[in-house]
Point group: C2
Chain length 237, copies 2
């Protein structure tokens, strides 16, 4: 079916993307301009753009235009290197905004960790950037007994997991991960400045210490084109 015009369009657009002169500052020409140049309608052109968006080559910024997507971030959710560390390690510039903190019961987190529904949690919600692009909206819930005084400390500038280790002597031994592609929920989409329903990747983690006591639960929502999950396993069989 490679004879559909919009598919040939994606090929020509891909060429255009690799031409540094064509899109200044990583921004594509306006849809109307492109539609005219390729002698088609905006509808068809947008079909081609959506295709490239699905491939992770371009993304849109609400009513500002289409932009070339940067390389994906390599990310190993099984390691506890801090976000800042591995973003910088890849030559990118990290930034984090804390959106909300509180301490109260969160039944969802409680259920994930196998605790009673009225179990309170230290909750942190934040938004994280790579090179000034918001790519991740996350919420994490820490069992207060494991890390007393967490929210009073400087949880923003240093790796949270590093602090759990060093300040409270926790060893985050047992982890379970769930990961699937999704359409970003309304709230997360808004926080990332994209349309609801934009393709995303959901990562959920539950963490227990060496005595199998529940420590933390967290939910991450990534832009689908922003990351490449990598996992290294050296253990036994």
């Amino acid at each position: 079916m490679s004879d559909a015009y919009y598919l040939r369009l994606t090929d020509r657009l891909r060429e255009l993307l690799s031409d540094p002169h064509a899109c200044e500052e990583g921004r594509l020409p306006a849809e109307r301009t492109l539609a005219e140049r390729f002698r088609t309608t905006r509808v068809t052109l947008r079909q081609a753009l959506a295709q490239l968006e699905g491939e992770g080559r371009i993304h849109r910024s609400n009513r500002r235009g289409w932009f070339v997507s940067p390389a994906r971030l390599d990310y190993d959710p099984t390691r506890d290197a801090g976000f800042n560390d591995y973003v910088r390690a890849q030559g990118r510039r990290p930034r984090t905004e804390v959106l909300l903190t509180d301490t109260r019961p969160y039944p969802t987190a409680a259920e994930a960790l196998g605790l009673p529904a009225d179990q309170p949690f230290c909750h942190i919600r934040r938004r994280r950037f790579v090179d000034d692009r918001a790519v991740l909206a996350e919420s994490l819930w820490v069992v207060p007994e494991r890390a007393p005084g967490l929210l009073e400390g400087d949880y923003a500038s240093h790796s949270l997991w590093g602090q759990l280790r060093s300040r409270w002597g926790l060893s985050l031994t047992h982890r379970s991960l769930r990961l699937y592609s999704e359409a970003l929920p309304e709230r997360e989409a808004a926080e990332l400045g994209v349309a609801a329903g934009t393709a995303g990747l959901s990562v959920r983690r539950t963490i227990f210490d060496e005595r199998r006591r529940p420590v933390e639960y967290d939910e991450e929502h990534w832009l689908h084109d922003a990351l490449c999950i990598t996992v290294e396993l050296d253990g036994k069989a």
Copy 2:
């Protein structure tokens, strides 16, 4: 922006999906029917359907219609349980078709395993089904020296990894995984009977034995709505 008509449409369609009478055999009414029922055009209706498709609730079968998507398959790519085993463990019916086998050099696999480009491999390409829906197209390349006679054996009906262990005494100790969302490439899309560019999930693995000798490289392409990756880590810090 919840006032866009197509977004309200998705809500009404979601209700419709949960109504067992509305869609017989998990099949939705025709687009033209739905468009008329909701007093809009096919274009707008299709926008809503695409949204639900992104959420993984429905999927299309080429020119046959839209269907309710089954629950995602839980899949742990770090374990070496066979496909058949964990599909059955979840009460589903697995099936595998071998599309191609050969032995010759494959530079891509060689590079992934750090071998010279002219290194030959035992190559198996297959398509895998869950309840008769093709959800996975995969290729795997095994270093022939590690498993002599592999392609002559019964590699189809039993877990390949199980055989590598039992027949050749290999321990698949060191593994590295890469995983990201993608638009399905033309070939894989065709094998899965979906349109090129359909949302997918790419999983690549490289496997070394306990002496760090390269054993296997494989590439999986999943339908994005077909699986939920889970990983359990009990090991060290």
